[in-house]
């Protein structure tokens, strides 16, 4: 797509294609490495970092408080009741897991599809995945009534003659999420090894040399290393790719396998996956935009990235919209009283407001992203990313809570009002996520230097046939 409305004399616009560049012109191997590694290796930690770090740390303390109280008293401190036996914990779990998906998509699927523009953002998208999985993984553990027996969900040999019940989707969750977490961590770490080697070599402090030396597991950058590195990356990407689709599909089965109207629907797996990527990309933007500004990384994370993320969000958002409309259609077409009532209740019941929040945030407002000017406006896109994240949280709220408040027997209808512990736990995980992210950007290379260097024109001089346009297409 040509950038007709971009100013021609903008150095960030490639005159050949009219597209925004993936990397600003004028960078060299050295300048890229310098720019990224300096963030980590500097001895002057910015004050802003400290401020954010401590603020997030405060939220982590709040999470600790909430969870400690939870373990002391029981899940009754939350708002869950009969009939709404799942509440914030499950909503947050699904939401966080969904957010993680973008990282894997960017690092695995886009790698396989040779979308090299992904290189600038894939490292911290992967980190986001891991931290999101950390936050998500906490919830199934703490939401059970007797968390100290949570290990009973794993099939392991024991003297109690105890074995899990494999028909339950919750058990599938255990496998799906733990596999996902493992692959993500391995992929993330392995991708970092060349950069860790760079940091080891550039570090001035003994501690840094030791620390990064340990982590870089003897990376010397030899061709043999590189060959194996590339192969392993492809293999791991191949492993991770199905996970992008499977994890959220499995999680959606928690709902579809149940017979509750509003849960019992076959469209959930695809639309959960789309929703996950949707919210994941929104979260990438939520993180990338402030970081880019704070560390002056506009050269490396360009308007192009933001624009591309916007396009992905638009596409997945439309899939999600299709999912919603199919649900509405089916509740009419099925001629099932249960479905009909569920949809009516979802829209106009006592919690109908949440449905309209969801529609507004996930479907109505994101249509603005059709407009290129909107997509290339950093401030508006930041706002949009927050809106989509809110919308996706409400999607889970609607599915979990609204369906449960009014199910089969009118006598058992109930309501749900979150308690302060619910809010504290949720805000606490946001804090934990941010906290971990602050540590990450301070101590690890948030942009893959090695991969970024590949995108520079200098990296492509060996190409024989013709001068390719700038990397990224």
């Amino acid at each position: 797509m040509a950038t007709k409305d971009a100013p021609v004399n903008n150095p960030m616009v490639d005159p050949l294609t009219g597209e925004y560049r993936v990397i600003a012109p004028g960078h060299t191997f050295k300048s890229v490495t310098e720019k990224v590694s300096r963030i980590v290796l500097t001895s002057h930690t910015p004050l802003g970092w400290w401020f954010g770090f401590l603020l997030a740390g405060g939220f982590v303390m709040m999470l600790m408080t909430a969870v400690t109280w939870l373990f002391l008293k029981g899940v009754g401190i939350w708002a869950i009741t009969i009939p709404v036996a799942w509440g914030f914990a499950i909503i947050n779990f699904v939401w966080w897991i969904g957010i993680g998906h973008a990282g894997t998509l960017i690092s695995a699927i886009l790698l396989l599809f040779k979308q090299s523009w992904r290189n600038s953002i894939n490292r911290f998208a992967e980190a986001m995945t891991i931290f999101a999985v950390v936050c998500a993984g906490m919830f199934p553990l703490i939401h059970v009534g007797r968390p100290w027996l949570g290990y009973w969900l794993f099939p392991y040999p024991n003297t109690m003659n105890y074995w899990p019940q494999f028909r339950s989707p919750l058990l599938w969750d255990v496998f799906a999420v733990s596999t996902y977490a493992t692959i993500s961590v391995v992929f993330w770490y392995m991708g970092m090894i060349p950069d860790l080697g760079t940091l080891r070599d550039r570090s001035q402090s003994k501690l840094g040399q030791f620390f990064y030396g340990l982590l870089s597991v003897g990376w010397r950058g030899s061709v043999r290393h590189w060959v194996r590195y590339e192969t392993a990356s492809l293999l791991l990407a191949g492993l991770a790719t199905p996970l992008v689709l499977s994890v959220h599909s499995v999680i959606s089965l928690d709902f579809s396998v149940a017979l509750l109207p509003g849960w019992h629907t076959t469209i959930f797996p695809p639309y959960f996956v789309a929703g996950a990527i949707y919210s994941g990309f929104a979260m990438v933007l939520t993180l990338a935009i402030p970081i880019r500004k704070f560390y002056h990384l506009e050269d490396l994370i360009t308007i192009r990235h933001i624009d591309n993320c916007g396009k992905v969000m638009l596409a997945t958002g439309m899939i999600v919209a299709y999912g919603y409309s199919t649900e509405v259609f089916m509740s009419w077409y099925s001629a099932s009283h249960w479905e009909y009532f569920m949809m009516w209740n979802r829209m106009f019941g006592p919690m109908g407001w949440s449905y309209w929040v969801l529609i507004t945030c996930n479907i109505a407002l994101p249509q603005l992203m059709w407009i290129r000017k909107f997509r290339t406006n950093v401030g508006l896109m930041f706002l949009m990313s927050l809106i989509v994240n809110t919308g996706m949280w409400f999607e889970r709220f609607v599915i979990v809570v609204t369906s449960l408040t009014r199910d089969y027997l009118p006598s058992s209808w109930g309501t749900y009002r979150a308690t302060r512990w619910d809010y504290m736990t949720f805000a606490g995980t946001l804090g934990l996520f941010t906290f971990l992210f602050f540590l990450f950007i301070r101590f690890l290379p948030m942009i893959p230097m090695s991969e970024l260097r590949l995108m520079l024109p200098q990296a492509k001089v060996r190409e024989k046939k013709e001068l390719l346009p700038e990397a990224g297409d």
Binding site: G74, L170, W413
Partner: protein
């Protein structure tokens, strides 16, 4: 109940010694001696060794010897010539010889709690608890916990009829103001753990009610007072007796001038006899009975019509048409004769092999279960009731017509009922309400007389209360005497007048003029706090007494356990006035029935006594009908307060906590009340129109002022309440008690003695505050408020939940005509489809032997909540408290779903007990990740508490929402007395565990073990679930559906049987029998009711 299990052996182990001293050795020996006696005593007749101590004591009495052996003497007798204790077999023989000596018998006798009057050593209670602790440890309750630090005392030789883990059953009776409820008490290791109706008793035939069920918790209530107190300080009982007798000695000359007793209604003939004897010695002393819910109206009318006090007993098994004039005879034990009435009513609605049904009309001023079970219900204002009754009498020719100014629908209703009554002379009955004015009773007497019902559907008998009186008049007299300074001593027996006397009497200030106030009560309540002497009352499960059921049958109340806190009874206080002040209640009761030509005196008195203890009643003591004739006339024409002249106030007792005396019973507070669904609360109940008229909303705090008195209550709209009426519930607003304290408002603050139940001219005012009512379950207040509006045919209000329940086929019913035309109505129509058993892709489970199933007859269920209370007791269900209840965490395994149908102003209600359906295709089973809920080979969905990690997925996936989760630690692991109460066969669930109905699997297994031992199949009806056993109408049937001859299998082939939500293929094992209403077609047509 298995007859063989109903042995009569009584409390043991609570041993006391006449001489506190070198105790333990003596104790061991005397216990062994006792036990050997038990072995020797071979039961020759059906009533086993129920009264060993009694026999001993009796022997002593007959011997007339007060001389008793000391333990030294016993030892001496048991020792050989050289003074060494004998050992081995000879020892037993020696005891055998000893047992014949009356002195020894008396010694043994004192080891038993029947002689608790001499049991003054406080140490023995602690020892008793230790023994109990030991037996609980053996029963496995404390299996996983640390042994208590205190020394525990095992049985040296276990009593022969005690097999730990095997319960024993005793017959007794729960003395209630409206008449005793005959009960059968399950006792585990001599702890009563369950109270149920006595299945063989001719009066209730096994039926019970919530209050009767909950008396168990009442006994183990940790708030019970535990000591005799004088001005707040602990005193021994004997010092009270000393003071009391000193006072009596002073008053002997004046004939007891200034001595007053104030008691709740007496149903014990022995107590009455004791008083009558006391009256002879002290003719000036006065005995006043007062209960908030009393029979004043009935007695006033009876005196007027018959010239004497009589009780009316209605024979609903003979009645085809029943008209209730404000009588809530289906609502609970508060209506005299409830158990019998409700059963007879329901039996004529089962349509078993017949199309004949009774028809119920209810004219009522409040909203009661009776009204909502009626085919045709008419809501009136309280002031209209008397006039309506007179008008009805006039319409059937039984009195002067009261030409009241009736609205169109009221006039039509009146004409319809009158026509139906006239057409069914001799087969109909009119039942007046206890709290309705005397005119209503007069009208009912006249109508029944006129239509030839007397002797057929209604008989008049002696009164259950041996000393009938007009209680309010007596109370007023007492207060007048108190104010005049005439009352020197006031002995209050189990009453709480400081809390419950009408406000205008200002009882508390009158008490200030009384010399000495004595309060006998189970709790140190509002009155007990003011009284000089407070004496802790023994619970009926701890004492000897007797009481009449409403049909007149006498039951002996026998103790199930030694008094936990050495409580005393009214018998002992009254006995202190008499010639033999130390005579125990036990002896007094025996004397009443066994001496002086009493019914047990004929033939072998001892045998008769034991038989009556064993059976639970004294044969042939039911009242015989009296031939009395109503004088006719329905009294002066009642006037109706003009509508619009303020609001009318109707005072009603709480359906569960009654007049407040059970307010500290957690089960009764927590279980939602019928119709209003209120728990832990009472409200100002009114119609939607009234709510609107006064600019109120539900949950608003509203000030009700009437006659210058004011109370503030939460406003609650109750469908079906007549406009311009506010219902004030009595029994809440107690100040004292960890459960009762601070719950709801105190309705007594607007009660006045001249018009105790209804007043006119009240005003309502919104205070501006919000009163956060606790209404769990359906009808969630905030949702109802949103959805009640919306244009609908009629007056623009409808119940969304009711509509949905009909659309979804949850409630199915037909009129009798429709049913006759189409007996399969329950399976036709949208949402009524269900998959056939073989319509599945998967192999069905195979059940080779037993497959448990349940059927609930919606026509019989009256929504009384007895099943829920029974379930709490049987399954150790915790009480969660008000806040938790309000947000939907109530733990009841069986609940009563109430659906209103149609217009909110004049709805119909449908009651549906809802419990785990034990689905064949159980949605809960497949989603549990840890296999904590599994399918048994007999088709139950079992909850394995130990495996549950608490994901709550099963609850989400349960379409019936019958699973309950321990969100917090709800079970009380601390309170000692509650530990004794628990059913040892059911685990006490801890935090984080899901639980639910198990069809009382512990009962199933117990019977299976018995059947296995005898190598036979289980008989149909041998297993009864707790809810089934409690149900006063036998609406619940349980059994083996594989056995095609079983009752449950047969009823499941009934065409009216349907499964709730069966269309989602859960294949429930619990099914319902659809209701059929025998409507008056003409009346329905003219009123526009029952149009679809």
């Amino acid at each position: 109940m298995n007859k063989s299990e109903v042995t009569g052996h009584r409390v043991q182990g609570a041993a006391g010694s006449p001489e506190p001293g070198a105790r333990s050795a003596e104790r061991a020996m005397s216990e062994e001696a006792t036990q050997s006696l038990v072995q020797i005593e071979q039961p020759n007749h059906r009533a086993q060794s129920s009264e060993l101590s009694a026999q001993g004591g009796d022997a002593a009495l007959h011997a007339g010897v007060g001389k008793k052996l000391t333990l030294e003497q016993v030892r001496a007798k048991l020792a050989d010539e050289n003074g060494n204790p004998k050992k081995g077999k000879r020892f037993w023989r020696s005891v055998d010889e000893l047992a014949d000596a009356p002195e020894f018998a008396q010694l043994v006798n004192e080891e038993f709690p029947s002689q608790a009057s001499e049991w003054i050593d406080p140490v023995s209670r602690r020892s008793f608890l230790k023994v109990m602790g030991a037996s609980m440890a053996l029963a496995g309750l404390a299996g996983c916990t640390k042994q208590p630090d205190e020394a525990i005392m095992p049985y040296v030789t276990a009593p022969p009829d005690l097999i730990l883990g095997k319960p024993v059953y005793f017959a007794s009776a729960f003395p209630f103001t409206t008449g005793a409820v005959p009960v059968l008490i399950k006792s585990a290791a001599y702890r009563p753990i369950k109270v149920d109706g006595n299945p063989e008793h001719p009066y209730n035939r096994g039926g019970s009610d919530p209050i009767t069920q909950a008396t168990l918790l009442d006994m183990y209530d940790p708030d019970r007072s535990q000591h005799v107190l004088y001005r707040g300080e602990t005193r021994p009982w004997i010092s009270f007796v000393g003071e009391f007798r000193a006072m009596l000695a002073d008053k002997k000359a004046s004939g007891g001038q200034g001595l007053y007793f104030l008691s709740t209604t007496v149903t014990s003939p022995t107590l009455a006899a004791q008083w009558q004897q006391g009256q002879k010695n002290y003719p000036q002393a006065k005995f006043i009975q007062y209960d908030t819910v009393n029979r004043d109206s009935h007695y006033t009318a009876a005196k007027q019509a018959f010239g004497e006090y009589v009780d009316a007993q209605y024979r609903l098994d003979q009645a085809d048409v029943i008209v209730s004039l404000d009588a809530n005879f289906l609502g609970g034990a508060q209506y005299p004769g409830f158990h019998r009435l409700v059963q007879d009513y329901a039996n004529k609605r089962k349509l078993a092999g017949t199309d004949a049904m009774n028809r119920l009309y209810a004219v009522e001023t409040g909203t009661t279960l009776t009204g909502f079970k009626a085919e045709h219900r008419l809501a009136l204002r309280p002031s209209q009731m008397a006039a309506f009754a007179q008008a009805l009498a006039g319409a059937v020719g039984a009195g002067a017509a009261n030409g009241g100014n009736w609205a169109d629908h009221e006039a039509k209703y009146l004409a319809g009922v009158a026509a139906d009554l006239n057409a069914n002379g001799g087969k109909c009955v009119v039942i007046p309400g206890e709290m309705a004015p005397p005119e209503v009773h007069l009208a009912a007497f006249a109508i029944n007389e006129k239509l030839g019902n007397v002797g057929r559907t209604v008989v008049y008998t002696e009164t259950v209360n041996p000393m009938p009186s007009i209680q309010m008049a007596d109370l007023k007299g007492l207060v007048a005497d108190m104010n005049a300074g005439k009352v020197d001593w006031l002995v209050i027996l189990n009453a709480n007048p400081v809390y419950a006397a009408p406000a205008d009497l200002e009882f508390e200030s009158a008490l200030g003029k009384v010399g000495t106030i004595v309060h006998l009560g189970s709790h140190r309540d509002e009155t007990g706090e003011i009284a000089h002497w407070h004496i802790n009352n023994a619970h009926y499960l701890e004492m000897w007494s007797d009481a009449r059921a409403y049909d007149g049958t006498v039951s002996i109340v026998q103790p199930m356990i030694a008094p936990l806190y050495e409580g005393r009874t009214a018998h002992e206080i009254l006995q202190s006035m008499l010639d033999h002040p130390d005579m125990s209640a036990y002896d007094a009761v025996r004397a009443t029935w066994m001496q002086n030509g009493g019914p047990l005196a004929k033939g072998d008195a001892e045998f008769n006594w034991r038989k009556s203890l064993h059976d639970g009643w004294i044969a042939d003591t039911a009242f015989t009908p009296k031939s009395v004739t109503a004088k006719g006339g329905t009294g002066a024409a009642a006037t109706v307060a003009a509508a619009g002249s303020g609001v009318e106030v109707l005072l009603q007792p709480d359906p569960h906590v009654y007049d407040g005396r059970y307010a500290n019973v957690g089960w009764l507070q927590e279980i939602p009340r019928p119709l209003t669904n209120l728990a832990w609360d009472n409200a100002a109940q009114m119609s939607y129109a009234t709510l609107e008229k006064y600019g109120l909303q539900e949950n608003d705090a509203v000030e009700i002022s009437v006659g210058g008195r004011k109370i503030v209550a939460g406003a609650l709209a109750v469908p079906g309440q007549s406009d311009g009426v506010v219902v004030v519930t009595l029994g809440q607003g107690r100040r004292i008690g960890r459960v009762a304290g601070g719950v709801g408002y105190n309705g007594y603050l607007v009660q006045v003695s001249d018009a105790p139940y209804q007043q006119t001219g009240a005003t309502l005012k919104r205070t501006g505050d919000i009163y956060d009512l606790c209404a769990p379950k359906s009808n969630h207040i905030d949702q109802r408020a949103v959805f009640a509006g919306g244009p609908r045919p009629g007056d623009g209000m409808h119940s969304l939940e009711g509509d949905e329940s009909l659309d979804r086929g949850i409630i199915r019913y037909a009129t009798l005509t429709e049913y006759k035309a189409d007996p399969d109505f329950a399976h036709e129509g949208v949402g009524h489809w269900a998959p056939k058993p073989d319509e599945t892709m998967f192999a069905a489970y195979r059940y080779d032997k037993n497959a448990w199933g349940m059927s609930i007859d919606l026509n019989s269920c009256v929504g009384c909540n007895a099943c829920i209370t029974a379930c709490y007791a049987e399954n150790n269900i915790p009480v969660v408290g008000r806040e938790q209840t309000k947000i939907g965490r109530i733990m009841q395994w069986i609940r009563l779903d109430t659906y209103y149908e149609g217009d909110l102003a004049a709805p119909r209600a449908h009651f549906q007990p809802m419990t785990c359906h034990q689905c064949e295709n159980a949605p809960c089973e497949q989603v549990c990740p840890v296999g904590a809920t599994v399918h048994t080979p007999e088709g139950l969905n079992m909850m394995v508490y130990n495996r549950c990690v608490g994901t709550r997925y099963c609850s989400n996936n349960c379409p019936y929402k019958v699973r309950r989760f321990n969100f917090l630690l709800y079970s009380d692991y601390e309170t000692e007395s509650l530990k004794l109460m628990r059913n040892p066969e059911v685990s006490v669930r801890s935090r984080g565990v899901m639980e639910k109905c198990s069809y009382c699997v512990q009962r199933i297994e117990a019977v299976k073990i018995e059947a296995d031992k005898e190598n036979r199949d289980i008989h149909d009806g041998e297993i009864r679930t707790a809810c089934q056993q409690a149900c006063p109408t036998n609406a619940i049937i349980f059994g083996n559906i594989n056995d095609k001859s079983s009752q449950v299998a047969k009823i499941k082939t009934n065409q009216r049987t349907y499964g709730v939500l069966a269309d989602i293929n859960t294949r429930p094992r619990t099914t319902y029998v659809a209701g059929v209403l025998n409507i008056n077609e003409e009346l329905a047509k003219s009123l526009g009711e029952y149009t679809s």
